[in-house]
Amino acid sequence: MKKTDVSNYDHYLKVVDCQQACPAHTPVPEYIRLIADKRYSDAYMINWESNVFPGVLGRVCDRPCEPACRRGRVEEEPVAICRLKRVAADYKDDITDRLPKAPEESNGKRIALIGAGPASLTVARDLLPLGYHISLFDRDQQGGGMMRSQIPAFRLPETVLDEEIDYILNMGVESHFGSAITSMHKLLQENYDAIFVGTGAPKGRALNLPGHEAAQPQISIGIDWLANVSFGHNDKAPKRVVVLGGGNTAMDCCRTAKRLGAEEVKVIVRSSYEAMKASPWEKEDAKAEDIDIIVNHNPTEFVVEKGKLKGVLFDQVESFYDRGGNRVLKNTGETLLAECDLVLVAIGQDTSFEWIERDIGLDFNDWDQPCLNESTLQSSIDKVFIGGDAAYGPENIITAVAHGHKAAISIDLFCQGKDPMQRPKSDFNLISQKMGMHEWSYTNIIDHEQRNLVPHISWQEAVKELATEVELGFDEQLALEEAGRCLNCDVHTVFTESTCIECSACEDICPTDCINFIDDIKDDITPPQQLLKGKLKVDKATDEQDYFISDNLQTGNIMVKDEDMCLHCGLCAERCPTGAWDMQKLTLSNIEATIK
């Protein structure tokens, strides 16, 4: 069979499920080990280098890393990666003197960033230490984008946000708050060497049902309403509020309404509870705050009585999937009138590029989205780069950060006259963790404890005040316990064919039956999944990880390791009489980002 290529880091990075899943490739196991060592500031800096907003993300990240976590495969629940990030942020010391500084001497290149959300702020942070001059424009009065305007203070305290935004602004950004950019054409005339568009997806979708016009004063677009609350223009909600939509915006709307005095808050959604787009923890938190989530109801009319909104009329529906896998709704014949004083429409957002003239050479596709090179985020005007929600529609903060890194590399290459497609390859290092007999420089004993829950304040307390943070975060003891659950997936099982004597000791000791010695299969073309079916001790449980396939050993056999279930416990290396297995830690220099 075809040997796994380990001449670069691709195979090993994939093995680190969380780091691979994190759009910014945060070295998760490394920072968790530092937390376990109570080195909170170090853990914070590792995070800051990759994801720029550890305090923010430690609270509100979408956490694509957690469903990927190996722990979820070998046990039940993933490591609380996100909440451990918050631990690093909460318990760190003052780290300001560890932040990179812009050089005294500028490199002469001027970059304009439009929008001060996480995407633009990341570009600023990555380029400032390289000597770029950064001009940042936002129509809002403060930086942060939707992290400030949308995410309510009970999930993300303002102080945490301010602190991490200031780290960047204080590096020497020339910021222009309260200034909306209204013409790309004009901007292009100014002598910026490159322009980054990070304007997000700021346009909330409306719901034009019968009655819409008459009821207009009592219908708000969810994200506009939330922004008004954030900026202090609105501090009250009427008694009865209906929220339409089942995503995270809907969850923030309903919980905010509750805090602004609404007594009866209903989220009414077309889909089933399971199919709702909101993260499971957001739904749970909303339910815990006594918010009614009514599923399988499709809105049909804003009912108006005497010129005033009476409520919203719904058809009850059943949803099922047709043979093509598409969701189909069928009316059951039942209807529901949800009486209310305010409707918040949270059914999606779109990008808004009215300010980009269509005749200046910036190409748009059929969906009115700018055409971008996916690897570089470069538009059809070579000095214009677009990232964050503006690039491909609404995502999340960590994706915006990853886009920021990507665009910063592109801009840096572009400004040096280089081809942004020629991405610099990251260095990687594999370092043996062996210290002696049964002695490793990481804790290889497997912790069998279950995931620790983050303490919350009581919901009655929580809903009293908009700015009261609901989650309390781990205390130190819980943090250390949770950190102990990490399996150290970045400490890899590295195999050397030439020293293996095929004694099968590793195969026998492996608790999760990852290792197999089998007859070689003379076929380099058929996918390994197919070739290996039924050939291993236990068939693959998931396809999340690949096989690690060795070269031919002395007898001609091969070693096949299923990377799915490996606990990184090092027993194979302990048991190997010849050191053919070794546990080696992978270090990558902040891949796909300019700050190493």
């Binding site: 046990e75 608790p511 236990v538 302990e574």
Partner: protein, 350 residues
């Protein structure tokens, strides 16, 4: 630092008829040298017992002294066991088996334990046809006492310290054949595909089953010039047939080589299926088996596989016509039926 095996296991591990995975058949974590062949034998026993769905508590692990004799600690934590005096495992097992013939006796011995100090015991337990599986982990040395040559070492080899083997080797398979063992096999610890079915068949066989398992001692007998090293064995091992064990209930769907095969039906109705690689191969001919072992040896090959099997042989209990009920369950009033019965017996001699 740690040296503990995680309780976590693969999510799709098969469970057997008792609802157990093989992990429930494991023992303590081994303290033998990393890479010792004996650990592979332990693993093979674990898998064989799991696949046969034997309740661990119906097994007794018997051993003498040596690294190999320590091995029972590293499999089947929930089985009974007796770690006896050096070379005396056969008599202890005989006693245990007499008292309770219902247990499955898995004996693990070494070539020192069985071919040196325990040779007499070995010979007699074979003769007695005790219903047991007698495994010898054959590494050519006394591993536990740091590598002195064992009586199974080939003449002319040197051990790690340079000591020359002056005498002819004892081949325990040949001896077992000669002394009337009804099941004789030789295996290599590194070949579980062969070892596991043979252990399963040996357990199913209701008589004396001997398995000689070449099991390299990585620490004291894995050097160049050794005829029990991993390299040497991997290069010189050969077999006359691929054997597969088919339990009673199971459909025959094995993925073993195509072509002709022969089935041998064991006591409990399970089948030992034999795919001949060598047309000459025959498990029913004791003399030929002895001859084959010697011939291969002369050619510098190690013949492995099932060497001889007589599924009809009668075991110790059958030969002695003991009661159906294990003796340890026979109640006192039956064992000691009282004066009236004694009188009748005495009268019969008058």
């Amino acid at each position: 630092m740690s040296f503990a095996k995680s309780r976590f296991k693969h999510k799709s591990l098969p469970v057997n008829d008792l609802g157990l995975t093989y992990r429930e058949y494991e023992g303590a974590i081994s303290t033998l040298c990393a890479g010792c062949g004996h650990d592979s034998i332990s693993a093979a026993i674990v898998h064989a017992c799991h696949e046969l769905s034997i309740a661990p508590h119906s097994i007794a692990k018997m051993s003498g002294i040596g690294c190999s004799s320590k091995a029972p600690n590293y499999f089947l934590s929930n089985a009974h066991g007796f770690n006896s005096v050096h070379g005396r495992m056969p008599s202890v097992t005989t006693g245990a088996n007499l008292a309770n013939k219902d247990l499955t006796y898995l004996a693990m011995s070494g070539d020192g334990d069985s071919a040196s100090i325990g040779l007499g015991q070995f010979a007699h337990v074979v003769r007695r046809q005790l219903n047991m599986v007698y495994m010898v982990a054959n590494n050519g040395v006394y591993g536990l006492t740091k590598g002195q040559l064992a009586a199974t070492s080939d003449k002319g080899v040197r051990n790690k310290t340079g000591e020359l083997s002056l005498f002819n080797d004892i081949d325990l398979c040949t001896m077992a054949l000669q002394l009337g063992a009804s099941f004789v096999a030789r295996c290599f610890s590194g070949d579980k595909a062969q070892l596991v079915p043979i252990i399963k068949a040996a357990i199913a066989h209701q008589g004396f089953a001997y398995i000689d398992i070449i099991s390299p001692c990585v620490t004291f007998n894995n050097h160049e010039g050794s005829t029990r090293s991993y390299d040497y064995v991997q290069e010189h091992v050969t077999t006359g047939a691929v054997t597969d064990f088919v339990p009673i209930k199971e459909e025959i769907t094995s993925a073993t080589p195509e072509g002709e095969f022969e089935d041998i039906c064991l006591h409990d109705g399970s089948i030992m299926r034999i795919y001949k690689l060598d047309q000459d191969y025959d498990t029913s001919n004791r003399l030929k088996a002895m001859n084959d072992v010697e011939e291969h040896k002369q050619r510098g090959e190690i013949l492995t596989g099932l060497l001889y099997l007589d599924p009809t042989a009668r075991n110790y209990h059958e030969l002695n016509e003991t009661t159906d009920m294990p003796l340890n369950q026979v109640k006192q009033d039956l064992l000691c039926p009282g004066e009236r019965v004694l009188g009748t017996i005495n009268d019969s001699f008058r």
